[in-house]
């Protein structure tokens, strides 16, 4: 059992982490201006962490049950729309000039987004995915069908037009330190992303449920043979992953300051790249992959906007040439 992930701190594979740091430092050298670099890095980290929120559930679900949900983007979209509606409803607190009062709008928006996405995820697992376990082709088709229907239903309820979303008052603008401008919202996104990552790592590495999930990813039959119902575990992970996608969608809507029905489908491409880079089923790989994609997108977007679009594909190709199973391959038994 030489799984590179988790089990013992001593066995952490440092190469991908070093690569991420090296890219950040390399960007510092080629950008030259430290304050620009810091702005880009924070934007990249914020984007990466939000992508991680959205992608983590998908990669775990795949690792546990070999299920790939092409409709994952729907949870993101629903989260974004619900958050936008709640923010609009709490327009009063959101416009107040106090961070605490602003939280009174932001927190309900985030919670509502998570709840809505979780409920939808539970429904999805029941109705759409359960009948097609173990049949990859049908999974892809069915979940794509679910994506079509859900996107159309979103239009039925929220209309086809772009919905603008305002950030809470105290999270607009930037902190200015010397000649460095640090956008407040991005900093908060980084903080929320890191907090969720920390909680997730704690649950996965320090709790019994986490132990079962990690064991289930590596060897499903053995966990079942020990008398645990992996199905229930799976439903739990699916719903939690959907909730995180909803949270990611809510924060991403605020990041972009508008919500369209295609928000989920747009993110799905990045999410797929991230979980392929990270190694399907690996949470740690997903984290590093998301940071790599977020940082590179911002650096290259600044240095060479023309080729920015291809960077992520190129990154994926290079990493797959280097490690065909992704950065942190999951050892399936």
């Amino acid at each position: 059992m030489n799984s590179p992930e988790g089990s013992a701190a001593a066995r952490v594979d440092w190469v991908p982490i070093a690569l991420t740091v090296a890219i950040a430092l390399g960007a510092l050298a080629s950008i030259g201006n430290p304050s620009t670099w810091l702005t880009l890095t924070i934007a990249g980290l914020a984007m990466g962490l939000l992508i991680f929120l959205m992608a983590s559930g998908l990669t775990l679900v795949f690792g546990l049950m070999d299920v790939m949900n092409f409709a994952h983007g729907v949870f993101i979209a629903v989260g974004a729309y619900v958050a936008a509606s709640v923010m609009k409803f709490f327009a009063g607190p959101a416009e107040a000039d106090s961070f605490l009062v602003n939280l009174g709008a932001l927190v309900p928006a985030m919670l509502a987004a998570m709840l809505a996405a979780a409920l939808l995820g539970w429904f999805f697992e029941r109705v759409i995915i359960r009948p097609v376990y173990g049949q990859h082709l049908k999974q892809i088709l069915i979940t794509t069908g679910g994506l079509i229907v859900a996107e159309q239903l979103i239009i039925v309820f929220w209309g086809p037009d772009l919905i603008p979303v305002e950030r809470p008052l105290t999270l607009r603008g930037s902190f200015v330190i010397g000649d460095m401008a640090l956008e407040k919202y991005r900093l908060s996104a980084v903080a929320i992303g890191l907090a969720v990552f920390a909680v997730m790592m704690l649950v996965l590495n320090r709790s019994k449920i986490g132990l079962l999930i990690r064991a289930g990813v590596e060897n499903k039959e053995m966990v079942e043979a020990m008398g645990y119902r992996i199905r229930r575990l799976f439903v739990g992970v699916f719903v939690a992953g959907s909730a995180l996608a909803g949270l990611g969608g809510a924060l991403w809507g605020l990041y972009q300051r508008d919500v369209t029905v295609h928000i989920g489908a747009q993110m799905m491409v990045l999410i797929f790249i991230v979980i392929i880079i990270g190694g399907l089923g690996s949470v740690g790989g997903c984290f590093i992959g998301a940071l790599l994609v977020g940082l590179l997108t911002n650096y290259v977007g600044y240095l060479a906007p023309k080729i920015a679009l291809g960077t992520n594909i190129l990154l994926m190709v290079l990493i797959l040439l280097w490690r065909p199973q992704g950065l942190y391959p999951v050892n399936k038994q």
Binding site: H136, L153, V156
Partner: protein, 340 residues
């Protein structure tokens, strides 16, 4: 007749009747349904029958899900569009544009296939989705070459300016290519593809290099999709992101294949025709329905003419569950039940 259909007869009386109806409808479209709109619908149906059939070669016969089929469709469209708008308008430009587009498609599909067909179906689907969306963005960004979001409007050779000639060029080419695809899936090569779909491990154990077969199928599907793109562009005299590269079109293709019937080729004919006609005429019916439901909550919105995709999506999900071989499979199994 049997030789023409490569021995793959419809095997159901109702299906035969449907196919004959579609074929005569499309063959005589300019005379049966005069007017611009019906002819546009007919030409679109021809092109999509071919496009969907080439996709069925991948999905239905080989069991691989690609989201990059519209990319190849688009390469074909942009190939002729760029050639015709930059060079002297003539058949030479069309030939060159087509050849270049097919070559590019073959190279791309070969690389993608080699890269990702070794592993699971899911992996291939994800990679093609990423590559195709990248390509769509690329096409809208390289506006010097592709005209960006506006696309390219171009002139066609004198002969094709007659709608009648253009229609029969599209119809004839689609028919020939469709019969060629039917030949391919009923050849020994096609049998191997089916074997791979049914049990990859066993096919490999029998001595077939599955990666090679899959890659060839992938390249073949891509090449035919490119040709369909060429024909569609020549018919519209326009190529743009919305008519070729849009993810919505990929979804349409999936719907057509699944509703028509995966792995049956004839399903492509039924699915594509049904879908294209529905796309153009279902909306009118929904407008009536939506109007009559006015005043009720939500319902008018659900039946709004723009929500037709919602209902086709529901139909799609239901057919994957209950009729995995679509309309064609249903018609054929009824025959079998009747005979047994």
């Amino acid at each position: 007749m049997k030789a023409l259909l490569s021995g793959d007869l419809p095997r159901s009386r109702a299906l035969t009747a449907l196919l004959v109806a579609v074929l005569t409808g499309l063959a005589l479209a300019p005379f049966l349904f005069p007017g611009t709109r019906p002819l546009d619908v007919a030409a679109k149906a021809c092109v999509f029958v071919l496009l969907v059939a080439s996709y069925d070669l991948l999905l239905g016969y080989t069991g691989i899900v690609s989201f990059a089929h519209t990319m190849f469709f688009g390469i074909g469209g942009y190939g002729v569009a760029i050639a015709l708008s930059r060079m002297d308008v003539g058949w030479g430009a069309i030939a060159l544009g087509t050849a270049a587009a097919v070559a590019l498609s073959l190279a791309l599909s070969f690389v993608i296939g080699l890269f990702s067909l070794r592993v699971k179906a899911i992996f291939f689907a994800m990679i093609t989705l990423a590559v195709a969306s990248f390509f769509a963005i690329l096409a809208s960004q390289l506006s010097g070459l592709t005209g960006g979001e506006d696309g390219i409007t171009f002139k066609v050779p004198e002969l094709l300016r007659s709608r009648l000639v253009a229609y029969y060029l599209v119809f004839g080419s689609c028919l020939v290519l469709f019969l060629a695809l039917l030949r391919v899936v009923n050849s020994p090569f096609g049998r191997v593809l089916l074997a791979i779909r049914e049990n990859e491990f066993r096919a490999e154990a029998l001595g077939y290099r599955t990666v090679i077969y899959r890659t060839i199928a992938n390249c073949l599907g891509a090449a035919v999709a490119t040709l369909a793109g060429v024909l569609y562009a020549l018919w519209l005299r326009y190529t743009g992101p919305n008519t070729t590269l849009d993810f919505g079109i990929m979804i349409d293709i999936l719907l057509m294949v699944v509703i028509g019937g995966m792995g049956t080729m004839y399903g492509a004919v039924i699915g594509a025709t049904f879908f294209v006609v529905a796309q153009n005429y279902l909306q009118d019916a929904m407008k009536l329905l939506s109007g009559s439901l006015k005043g009720l909550p939500v319902l008018p919105e659900l039946f709004h003419p723009d929500r037709w995709l919602l209902w086709l999506g529901v139909l799609f999900v239901l057919s994957v569950y209950y009729f995995p071989h679509g309309v064609v499979g249903q018609l054929r199994s009824r025959l079998r039940a009747g005979a047994g």
